[in-house]
Symmetry: C2
Subunit: 590 residues, 2 copies
């Protein structure tokens, strides 16, 4: 199935939404210009179109297979992974000192989107490797970085995150895997980990497992967890591979989607592990990495949405059925002309482009947060931390909706697997679950990102939205219409925020009952804000006669978003303010 | 996977919402009392729990198989179908004069729900047979009824509807299948039909295909279609089976869900067909039957929602994870105690019970419409015709949401096929598509049910909602809260209705752009209305101390619905009134 990398839209976001001037004023990115970024993304886009996109059907049909000891990937995946590594794509946004290309997250996020649009199953392997690389970069010792980081950054080796156990999913405090100290300074890691994405496979030469486990005498609960490197093959001092470590794949899951991504049950039987950082700080280290991984999962949502949209709009242009309701033709017309098909397609497009715009601006804050100077860095970090649960929670929930609309546009053909669009619907369904469910994102947003600073960051966000409202008010009638909707939604956000801050400590159940509604309201507003910023820029370009075709579609997308999607904030606010008694009144039985 | 037939809720609806006194005052149902109805439903409920529910996993895993000439059903289906026929369940709501049990639709709808909750794939065969029986009952000749109706009503034979062709889906005017008159009065039917549910299988002795085709010289478009009986085996005058007819199964589809329901491509090669009624009135006859079939598909949505809810609530009671946010325990608690899990479960329950209540009241109108005395019959028919697209459109769209929430409640386990809840998510996805997509339902609602009588029926509906608002205002604080939300939503309905009536003829594109939003608004309001009626009755029972446990849950469900779901009407109204320019403004390219 064909895929077209959305380079034009990506570059618009990088240029106008991501804070590119600030990002490239950071020392580490000062020698990068937009031409470099565009060249890299165009090259990678072609690779995704030509090499990765054809995998998705094969991967879905064949799936990763477990032969009792090993996971065997569909054959074309091996070849494609080899090319991916050889061309250096894994290293795109990693630091040059460890062999990376050194591009900012703003560019890396766009690459992640394209790779996952082409095939989410394939995309998961590099995504996890990126996560392990980030963790080692931030928390690993010099020796650990030397030994493991470069081959991870090239993609020669892949990485995994081993958190979940049967009794410990969202609740990592219940992790039981043990790590016993050995005389040589290593640890013997024993336990069973489940849901380990790419936990076993034959694409890379080695797999670096990052494993949460408990040392003897560690405190109970989340504060007694330590993080260990457990390589599939032990790594010798010269970097060459030594003995096979005592970590084995017991089985892989039979899943609704992403079927070529092996989800492994791993058994650790006194496997040799190496402590990262200090004992009992494992969860803290994981959280550092999690922000980045959650952001990437949000981007996967945008990716699969775009893939579904591209298929739906192509089908709707080709499929002829029924006369138009306005009587403009006596013959059947392409269904793209029918009002409800337009509504569905524009909804898919607005949610996809809106998500992409939100991810681009968030990536910019992440870049500044990781590389900026102190005061500005701290502010950027707070904003990034506020936005990441929105990218993860909102964009993945919406991806389920967008891929469902993709099925609907195809009518009966959408339900037939060979059409291919049902796969996007199945693949997307994991996104609001893994790397923390939507409720976990909402708890993070409300508990850590809003309550902890007493709403300061949330109000700063709201203030920035207001600036965009004022810019839009100076524009066309369409822009003024967008401003009105955006201003209404901002009021609903502020009302909800005030209520939640007032209620949270007094009645936590009532406040957290509004957690997901608040996440959806905030995500909706944040997305509309970015499309509002886009519309301001697009109208300025249109006034200059620049790139008329693209810019007029940008305004149209923002307009649709405001009138069809942003209006849902009303319901979210009502749920927050008045909905909690219906969850907790006496006598409700579930 | 276990299933519990929701007899208590079904009987509440039959007793209080369905118009039971009016239905049983109809001559044809005058000797039926609630005890009979309950006994029949309890018996059938046990059958669904014990015999049908265990099929769903087997059916999903094995699927219907095509061996090149025949469809082979998973073996346990044959046995179950045999029992189903033997016990007489197919005949439940068919007239006694043709061997039926003669129970009203109000009871039949509940049976349809239970059967499809137990297994949607199995349920489709009787559903289509019911459709064919209804068509023959209304439009068949005496000889046709004698020859085909009784074995259909017993389930000894099954029925199909053959409408779709590759180029003719929603647009039946494009049907090309030909029917050439023969010297013996029969027709030679030739063409290819696709998406034929249970078009070929080995469960029943014969299959009665109802086929839309075009006679020589018939007008082009929808007004040139005639309806034919094409039996798989020709039926001799004594009722015994004769030669195999020239209709063959070419292939079956590989589908996202309902995999044990064979979806056939049928090739008609001068197959012997028998005209039903008059030539060129085929589509009109189909429409008579379609109302009934669409209602049943809506009920399938309620069915699969209930199945998903039952699984989710059971899992949430058992799965322990994380401490409660209110600090009431230092240990992990069952996840049903966490606010967002409660929110998801109550949402699933409110949408399911709400849909069931709406279906029960609609079934009552259908019974009166088909069997009442003239004036009252005509009013009931108008109300039923208004409500059926809501049952079909709203309840099936919601079933996709409910089954998705069912996956979410299960977290990572929901994505593993063996858990079983992913199947409901896959199965449900066909419901907003077949028997007319949601957009087709919306066109029917707006074009035929609202515009044609200039909004009279819609206003009558709104008036009945207002009566419930006033009843609720006499109740508890909870009831008054429900009344406030219901009254707001009713205002939004009236505002939307007035705008649509004003706009539709002047600017059909603008009006039909609001078609699905209006359907969702109306469906939401209609559902809340029925739960509001339920709350009024439940509060009266509670005041008498009757059935406290059940009645207090009824009020809780209505309260949740009002504050979490009904509030979505605001967005639908905004979309209708202000959303259309963003679909049709100059320069929007799709």
């Amino acid at each position: 199935m064909t895929y077209q990398a959305p380079i034009r839209d990506i570059m618009f976001n990088i240029e106008h939404l991501s804070g590119w001037p600030q990002v490239t004023s950071l020392g580490v990115y000062s020698d990068i210009d937009q031409t470099d970024a565009q060249a890299a993304l165009e090259g990678f886009g072609r690779f995704c179109e030509d090499v990765i996109a054809p995998l998705s059907t094969i991967g879905d049909e064949t799936g990763a297979q477990f032969n009792g000891t090993q996971v065997v990937m569909p054959q074309p995946y091996e070849q494609a992974y080899g090319q991916f590594v050889e061309m250096g794509w894994q290293s795109l946004s990693h630091p040059t000192e460890f062999g990376g290309m050194g591009l900012p997250r703003v560019v890396g996020a766009a690459a992640t989107e394209m790779l996952n649009a082409a095939d989410m199953s394939f995309g998961l392997c590099p995504l996890l490797t990126d996560g392990a690389s980030h963790a080692l970069l931030i928390t690993g010792s010099e020796d650990q970085k030397k030994r493991y980081l470069e081959p991870l950054i090239t993609g020669q080796w892949s990485g995994t995150m081993n958190l979940t156990e049967p009794q410990a999913g969202s609740d990592l405090g219940r992790v039981r895997t043990k790590a016993e100290p050995q005389s040589d300074g290593s640890f013997a890691v024993s336990g069973t980990k489940i849901f380990i994405t790419f936990g076993e496979h034959d694409l890379s030469e080695n797999i670096v497992h990052l494993v949460l486990a408990r040392t003897p005498g560690a405190p109970a609960g989340p504060k007694g967890l330590s993080l260990f490197i457990v390589p599939k093959y032990l790594v010798q001092d010269d970097g060459s591979l030594g003995d096979r470590n005592a970590v084995t794949c017991v089985s892989i899951e039979h899943k609704l989607g992403v079927r070529a991504s092996p989800t492994a049950v791993l058994d650790y039987d006194k496997a040799k592990g190496f402590l990262i950082g200090e004992e009992n700080r494992g969860l803290e280290y994981m959280f550092v990495m999690m922000t980045s991984a959650r952001f990437s999962v949000g981007v996967q949502g945008i990716a699969v949405s775009d893939r579904a949209y591209q298929h739906a709009v192509t089908y709707a242009q080709e499929r002829q059925q029924s006369r138009p309701v306005d009587g403009s033709s006596k013959d059947a017309v392409p269904i793209v002309q029918h009002p409800d098909v337009r509504r569905m397609l524009l909804r898919m497009r607005a949610l996809t482009e809106g998500g992409r715009a939100l991810a681009a601006t968030t990536a910019g804050w992440l870049d500044i947060a990781h590389n900026g100077v102190e005061d500005y860095r701290r502010d950027a970090d707070a904003m990034a931390e506020f936005l990441v649960p929105l990218v993860k929670g909102y964009c993945t929930e919406r991806s389920v909706e967008v891929t469902s609309l993709g099925v609907q546009v195809h009518g009966g053909m959408g339900f037939i697997e060979e059409t291919g669009v049902a796969q996007f619907y199945r693949d997307s369904r994991i996104l609001p679950i893994y790397e923390g469910t939507t409720a976990i994102q909402a708890n993070d947003l409300l508990g850590r990102k809003v309550m902890r600073d007493n709403g300061d960051t949330a109000r700063r966000f709201s203030g920035m939205v207001q600036e965009t409202v004022e810019e839009l008010r100076k524009g066309s009638a369409k822009a003024k219409g967008i401003a009105d909707r955006l201003s209404e939604a901002r009021d609903l956000f502020e009302t909800s925020l005030a209520w939640l801050l007032d209620t949270a400590r007094r009645d936590p159940n009532a406040a957290f009952a509004g957690g997901v509604p608040f996440l959806m309201l905030s995500g909706n507003l944040a997305t509309a804000w970015q499309l509002g910023r886009s519309a301001v820029i697009a109208e300025a370009k249109l006034a200059q006669g620049e790139d008329v075709e693209f810019m007029s579609q940008k305004v149209a997308t923002a307009q649709f978003y405001a009138h069809h999607i942003l209006v849902e904030c009303h319901a979210e606010c009502a749920r927050i303010l008045q909905g909690s008694p219906s969850l907790f009144d006496d006598g409700i039985q579930l």
